[in-house]
Amino acid sequence: MAASPNPAGSLEDRISKPNAATDATAQSISAWEADAAAPAEAKDDQSGAADAQVDGATDAAGGSALHEPQYAVEVKLSDLQADANSPLYSIGSFEELGINPQILKGMYAMNFKKPSKIQERALPLLLSSPPTNMIAQSQSGTGKTAAFVITILSRLDYTKPKSPQALCLAPSRELARQIEGVIRSIGQFVDGLTIQAAVPGAVERNAKVESMVVVGTPGTVLDLIKRRQFDTSEMKVLCLDEADNMLDQQGLGEQCLRVKNALRNVEQILLFSATFPDAVMRYAQQFSPGANEIRLKRDELTVSGIKQMYMDCPSDEGKYETLAQLYGLMTIGSSIIFVKTKESASRIAARLSQDGHKVVAIHGGFEGADRDGIIEDFRQGRAKVLITTNVLARGIDVQSVSMVINYDIPMKGASDSQPDPETYLHRIGRTGRFGRVGVSISFVFDRKSFQALSEIAKHYNIDLVRLDQNDWDKTEEIVKNVIKSSRAGTNLKA
């Protein structure tokens, strides 16, 4: 049908490429809204198809398939493309992207089936020669990590197993460890691949860094370079995950820059994040000059799979009873509860354990290796409830998380006077990973918390569904409908 977007053509329209000859820094930024504008196929009436099934004599099934006298009704194009607005929607396959079969094999083992939108859009640019920089923004849980991991694995020279050739930086040790895990998984069938983490305590003093791929935190990596444990002469790819967060923070941003300057021969700088506030974007463009850019509009930031609700609690103390009830309302795999203070983290942990939940709590008070262990327990499902302060808002991907609770609304600024929409977004992004349904429930109990949540909702233009703790039968019903519904509690436009 005519309205169907031509993928090859639209790629040109949508993603800017630097005009190398004339102006290396000029980019035209384009967003994905072009997709949204492309009308999803006129919804071919399904009822027609259903009729046709029942009654062999109707001719409503449409003439387009006339030349294909199949004996069953083909799935309508409109169904296959119904979710063309979804960040997960894609038409291609990994095979078509020309990825090395050994890498493909690892992806099959991880149950990857088709590229997500960001992967489909970004990978051809990321893998093209000569290597080009990239700044890519995509919603949480849409496969950013896999996109840059595939790129890194494709760029390595496997005849030099002891030379570090790609460096990936992350803002926290947990995230670095996680990325390391993803590289190991995707690269499990790649012969001769070597990977190493460079987080505090992971590299012995005086030991050389001798792996092809290094994943670390900026501080540790910088130390290793300074102490000449880390030879950067063969370094080809530098990748920053949660890039806005790293570049934005005084210390981290500085360290990142110094790491970058130490890599003389780097060919490709990749910046990935779900959020890129405008101020950071300008800096990012300096950091990764001449980059291809893939960006999102602000109200496209949340993923439709995350059903956002809020709970009206009677009082601050009343929040706990409400919390305990939530687990009966819906099917929950793992869950994360975000709280403000260490003390309430410990208190809630104790009470939930009493109720039969397997709980772990993590906050700034824990040392590095302990933190690794706690996260691992949670990741492996030995504990199913994670209670945490802000430490973990970003990037951590535990697939089975089906509920995120904002026990306290995220705030920022002097004495927590301002609502913090970015943190809210990263928090709820811990669920609804890769197209699955996830639920986020924010607790409000007084004017201030209510106000703060309203502002966040306004910021992203989302409709939060209100839940009530007076009639649990009714609340259960509401939650059920929200989860079932393809629209409620999201900003997905019709």
Binding site: G63, V73, Y108, G381, R436
Partner: protein
């Protein structure tokens, strides 16, 4: 066992031993030789039989392939003929443009009967024409159809499952709607098999019965909900019990001994339902076959069980399936503790009827959620095919995205393995869903001809095998090895087009070789 004389082994030649030439020694030697002979002979026989089986299997496979090829060619011929007929039809209609009439809205010259019309027959028969109703005949309303009727072929792989959504609920189950314990006028059929005999062999028995049970459970649920509308405390109570079960299901983890608390809670809630007053209901409505009263002294030996109890078992089953889908779909290992709890609940005699498990309640749900486990096939490219495969639709009637469907199937496949590969050798109770169900499901999937195999089947098969190969080998030994080879090497190898789903199955074979040293290729 060897008969041993008091003298000791005949091979222990001890010259000092006077009786070494005694008759007993001689007999012992003979017996030993005989035993050895028997042993060797048994091994040889087994090897011979195995070889016979292999050859038989190979013959069957070849036959199937030939049959497929024949069906394919015939289909193609039929299609070609359809096309020809269509062209002829069109030709006939070309020269009859209606005379120009201005006033009425333009009415197109009556179009030729489009060929896409769905066949009246319920099954799509995408690959092979239906035996009795040549689909081609349906295509054109021409009376003088000269199409050769495809020879009816009983072995045709055409899927003949009737549409699943509308099995007429038995009247007996309708009676459940009447809330208070009206006498169950019509006892459920002892063994239901209306259309079972007509089914192709790859569709497992009882599929239709399970859809009926599923419908009956829906009615029972409606009854309880209606009751709740009049009786608020009852509504509150059932709500609390339902949520308690769901909460406990969500608390399960893979750690040994860590699930005592949630397990105990579920059992407690189920038992409590015997105390809360609710009308009785004939449990056989929710079973495949009706057991007679037990002669032994078992719990729940009467004619009825409380309706609330069945309702809660149903809620438990729903929670199990939901947890498989939502949790095990993304982390398949989460299926294991759920499987343990399922086995424990449904083998508990106090939670059964007349000494029999009520696991059919859960299986009715599994049957609807994951039909391929029951041998049902379908094409993912057709509406009917997707419906048959258990591909869900969202609230707006669109098929759910592929990724979501795949995740669902992954969880359900792993869940089925977790339920059916349980070791009851040390249990006092009877295994409610023994391993042969697993074998049967695997066989029904792997026997799918390549042209009919779907990604859904590859996905389910993969998750049934992954993490469970050890257990499977434990139950079936060499036979399991052969089955795994078929499932992970032969079956994906035959795939018509390489897809991510079939490749993932093949990669699993590589993984088993690399991680567990299990080489299926040689």
């Amino acid at each position: 066992m060897l008969r041993r004389s008091h003298i000791g082994s005949p091979y222990n030649h001890d010259m000092r031993f006077e009786t070494r030439n005694a008759e007993d020694v001689h007999k012992d030697a003979l017996a030993a030789a005989l035993a050895e002979h028997e042993r060797v002979r048994a091994i040889a026989l087994r090897a011979y039989e195995l070889n016979e089986l292999r050859e038989a299997q190979e013959r069957l496979r070849l036959q199937a392939l030939q049959e497929e090829e024949r069906v394919r060619i015939e289909t193609e011929r039929a299609k070609e003929e359809c096309r020809l007929r269509e062209i002829e039809n069109k030709k006939k209609q070309i020269p009859v443009p209606a005379p120009r009439v201005k006033t009425p809205p333009p009415r197109a010259p009556s179009p030729p009967p489009p060929a896409v019309q769905a066949p009246a027959a319920p099954a799509p028969a995408a690959q092979a024409p239906k035996p009795q109703v040549p689909a081609a005949q349906k295509l054109t309303a021409q009376p003088n159809n000269q199409l050769p009727k495809p020879t009816s072929k009983p072995t045709s792989p055409a899927d003949q499952t009737p549409p699943q959504k509308a099995p007429q609920p038995q009247q007996s189950s309708v009676t459940t709607v009447q809330p208070p314990s009206k006498e169950q006028t019509k006892p459920a059929p002892t063994q239901l098999a209306p259309s079972a005999s007509k089914k192709p062999p790859h569709i497992l028995a009882d599929v239709d019965r399970y859809t009926e049970i599923h419908q009956s459970l829906k009615k029972l649920r409606a009854t309880i909900v209606n009751e709740g509308k009049q009786n608020l405390p009852f509504k509150k109570k059932t709500g609390e019990m339902r949520r308690a079960i769901r909460t406990s299901m969500g608390q399960l983890t893979g750690e040994k001994g860590s699930n005592k608390q949630p397990m105990a809670k579920i059992v407690a809630v189920l038992k409590e339902s015997f105390q809360v007053g609710s009308p009785g209901v004939d449990p056989s409505i929710f079973m495949v076959s009706k057991p007679g009263p037990s002669q032994q002294d078992v719990r729940n030996n009467g004619d009825e069980l409380p309706m609330l109890f069945i309702y809660l078992l149903n809620q438990f089953a729903k929670a199990v399936v939901a947890q498989f889908v939502d949790e095990a779909g993304v982390s398949p290992k989460a299926a294991e503790p759920i499987g343990i709890v399922v086995a424990s609940i449904f083998s508990n005699p106090e939670l059964g009827w007349r000494g029999h498990s009520l696991i059919d309640i859960l299986m009715a749900k599994m049957r609807v959620a994951c039909p391929v486990l029951w041998g049902i096939r379908g094409s993912e490219r057709t509406e009917e095919g997707r419906a048959r495969l258990g591909w869900k639709k969202d609230d707006e009637g669109n098929w759910i995205p592929e990724q979501v469907h795949v995740t669902r199937m992954t969880g359900l496949g792993a869940g089925y393995a977790a339920i059916s590969l349980r070791d009851f050798s040390k249990s006092r109770n009877e295994n409610p869903w023994p391993p042969w169900h697993y074998w049967r499901a695997m066989a029904s999937i792997t026997s799918t001809p390549p042209s009919e195999a779907s990604s859904t089947q590859y996905v389910v098969l993969k998750s049934m095998v992954e993490n469970y190969e050890q257990r499977f080998l434990g139950f079936y030994g060499n036979a399991a090895l052969a089955a795994l080879r078929i499932a992970l090497v032969d079956f994906p190898g035959r795939a018509v087009e390489r897809s991510a789903a079939s490749s993932a199955l093949a990669v699993l074979a590589d993984k088993l070789k690399r991680d567990k040293g299990l080489d299926l290729m040689s």
